[in-house]
């Protein structure tokens, strides 16, 4: 009877997991089908467990151990939540993901064709910026995150069509693009510090703005895959120009003083420096877009 030894550990596990389900709510209650399975197995359980008395004796101990372990786990989870909030502000991140389909559609259209949009200011609601769902001009992290993932997948696709693909290359593409992103955000932060720009641009805002170029890169690479190199260059040129204008119009309101943002020429080295900074941030986007995609199109 070599079935029972293999069945017994399963029975014991199922019994204790049933206790765990009612006890600590650590695992989600999945469905009635799971309960049906478990009751059926529990009926077979005592039969198998009755073969040796040891399993009956050790059941209270395992229950105790399980209860202790689950309480430890919930304590640990509370501690992780509390400490994680100190390093990565999760509540602030939720603001950046509060998007809906209409916002995403309008923002994508804005990233590709920013020339007709008139009002670029972010509307506020009693000192806090309005959630992206209600304002097209607010930065979000959904489009950059999705764009990054899509870029990695499209890069894998492009490499596959040239028979240069291997699964490690996906990781290489992802990590190198991520490293470039981090370096760009750090460079922008450093230059903002040096120019003493008193803005309300947070690090996450900068991350969002730097992530918007992935949309243009994806469009360029997909066009290059479908229609060949001229289409790649044309669509990349269009998206580069669009991102350039988008960044300038968005950053102008945040970085420059009010007078300079309205277009009047304001003298003074400070405003000049800030203007140069805005220009260089906007000009770095097309450079990165070309740098990260040219090796994908042959």
């Amino acid at each position: 009877m070599d079935y029972t030894p293999t069945q017994k550990p399963n029975m014991r596990l199922r019994n204790s997991s049933a206790d765990g389900l009612e006890g600590s709510q650590l695992f989600e209650d999945t469905s009635g089908a799971a309960h049906g399975l478990q009751t059926g197995n529990q009926q077979a359980g005592p039969q198998a467990a009755g073969f040796t008395g040891q399993s009956m004796l050790s059941d209270p101990m395992s229950n105790l151990a399980l209860a202790y372990g689950s309480s430890l786990a919930s304590q640990g989870r509370e501690m992780v939540d509390k400490n994680l909030d100190r390093f990565i502000p999760i509540s602030k991140m939720k603001y950046y993901f509060a998007v809906d389909t209409v916002y995403v559609g309008k923002k994508l259209g804005l990233l590709v064709f920013p020339y007709m949009h008139k009002n670029w200011e972010v509307s506020y609601q009693q000192d806090t910026p309005v959630a992206p769902r209600f304002d097209v001009n607010a930065p979000d992290l959904y489009i950059p995150a999705m764009g990054f993932i899509t870029y990695v997948l499209v890069a894998g696709l492009a490499l596959g069509t040239q028979n240069r693909f291997s699964p490690e290359l996906l990781g290489v593409q992802a990590s190198s693009a991520f490293v470039w992103l981090v370096m760009e955000v750090l460079a922008v932060l450093l230059s903002l510090y040096l120019v003493t720009a008193n803005t309300d641009l947070t690090t996450i805002d900068l991350l969002a703005f730097s992530g918007y170029k992935y949309v243009g890169m994806i469009i360029g690479v997909v066009a290059g895959l479908l229609f060949g190199r001229p289409a790649y260059y044309l669509s990349l040129l269009w998206c580069c120009a669009a991102i350039f204008v988008f960044m300038i119009r968005t950053l102008r309101l945040k970085l420059l003083s009010d007078a300079a943002a309205e277009g009047r020429l304001v003298r003074g080295t400070r405003n000049q420096l800030r203007m140069y900074l805005t220009m260089s941030i906007a000009a770095a986007q097309p450079i990165f877009m070309y740098w990260l995609t040219y090796h994908l199109i042959r």
């Binding site: 290489v172 990590s175 190198s176 490293v179 470039w180 510090y193 040096l194 003493t196 420096l273």
Partner: protein
């Protein structure tokens, strides 16, 4: 360009080491970043030079002990694992 996260960490450690070893008397005073020319501009516009000076000073003060730890750890790891 195959950058990995490990190369990013390496770059960061090397750059912070580079900023931390800039000696004030021997090197920085030749560029007018010396100790005497402190942060005089208390107006609303410190200027790029004063900001760079503040940055170098703060990196040196804040990162001295962590850099010692990180450098010794990386020396040991590189000796052991190449």
């Amino acid at each position: 360009m195959a950058f990995t996260l490990y190369s990013l960490i390496q770059t960061a450690i090397l750059c912070i080491n580079a900023i931390a070893v800039l000696h004030e008397e021997r090197f920085l005073s030749k560029f007018g970043f010396g100790v005497e020319q402190g942060v005089g501009g208390f107006g609303d516009d410190p200027g790029v030079k004063a900001q760079v000076l503040t940055l170098i000073r703060s990196v040196r003060t804040v990162m001295r002990v962590p850099l010692i730890i990180v450098n010794s750890a990386s020396i040991v790891l590189l000796l052991l694992f190449g």
